[in-house]
């Protein structure tokens, strides 16, 4: 990919557009947990309707992101923002796992609540904060302030 003039811009554009789908949908799910949108819909209704789109967007993000990484693996590995992004990604994944193996199993008890219980709201806030970190760190990878390897 490093040899092609067009591959990088195309893959990057796909990465940015898929961000709208993936993070857009994920944010709306989080906002529903916090009781900020669609309070009249059951939480499980919003989750089951939007999660497939979130997952599809995530798949595109991972593929286009992996292709971007392969463009210059050594440089990215050395980049502090890349490392921050990877750690935040791991934490975001952990947050999803804790949510789905915990409070989500009891969703029938709070499905109709306008505002979800504390543990679900916490998952929503953590998700918003971690994804914001991932996006910001991702953008900063392009800046080579702290790079040891010359571009």
């Amino acid at each position: 990919m490093a040899e092609s003039l067009w591959a990088f811009p195309i893959v990057e554009s796909v990465h940015v557009l898929a961000l709208c789908l993936f993070l857009g949908m994920a944010t709306i799910l989080d906002l529903r947990l916090l009781g900020l949108v669609m309070r009249d819909l059951r939480v499980s209704e919003v989750v089951t309707r939007l999660l497939p789109w979130t997952a599809a967007g995530f798949a595109v993000m991972v593929i286009s992101g992996a292709l971007t990484f392969l463009n210059a693996p050594v440089r990215y590995y050395e980049n502090i923002f890349f490392r921050i992004k990877m750690v935040a990604l791991l934490l975001a994944g952990l947050n999803v796992w804790v949510f789905h193996s915990g409070i989500w199993l009891e969703v029938s008890d709070w499905d109709r609540d306008a505002v979800a219980p504390f543990r679900a709201r916490l998952a929503g806030v953590l998700s918003l904060v971690l994804w914001a970190c991932i996006v910001v760190a991702g953008r900063m990878i392009a800046y080579n302030w702290f790079d040891k390897v010359a571009n």
Partner: protein, 158 residues
């Protein structure tokens, strides 16, 4: 009449100079612009998808659109403010950037379309609008906003 003198005036402005001379300001504003993009993607897509019969189908289109509109306007304000700040730091460079002009044409079209055609269809009695027409209205909206996003990303590659 050329817009170049106006662009040069923006470049010489205090705000433009401050952003240009700072190592951190541009990336930070750009990061906020990108976060706004993600939220914008959500609020545009969730309504357009609903218009096509996808996503949160239990909620009537008009009710969803009414609820989401403040979020749309809020994110749009964030996007326009951060976008304008980014612009003031390098207007004359952008003046000669084809992707910038593409983005601006898509942006103007998308805003006009969203608050005229799309808004009217979203508020209309659902039973009186055919599914094909609703799908078309949603697809045009997605296409116009995608054009803005692609144009924006392309500015950096141009």
């Amino acid at each position: 009449m050329s817009l170049l003198p106006f662009f040069q005036w923006c470049e010489a402005s205090a705000v433009g100079t401050a952003i240009r001379n700072s190592q951190w300001l541009f990336p930070v504003i750009e990061a906020v612009h990108l976060l706004g993009l993600a939220l914008m993607g959500g609020v545009v897509l969730v309504v357009d998808m609903r218009l096509m019969g996808l996503g949160v189908r239990r909620k009537p289109v008009a009710a969803l659109a009414r609820e989401i509109e403040p979020w749309l306007i809020g994110t749009l304000i964030v996007m326009l403010t951060t976008g304008l700040l980014l612009y003031t730091s390098e207007p004359t460079k952008l003046y000669y950037n084809g992707a910038f002009w593409m983005k601006m044409w898509f942006l103007a079209s998308a805003i006009i379309y969203t608050f005229t055609v799309r808004r009217t269809v979203l508020a209309a009695d659902e039973t009186r609008v055919s599914p094909a027409w609703k799908t078309l209205v949603a697809l045009i909206s997605i296409t116009l906003w995608a054009g803005v996003g692609i144009g924006g990303r392309a500015i950096g590659f141009y």
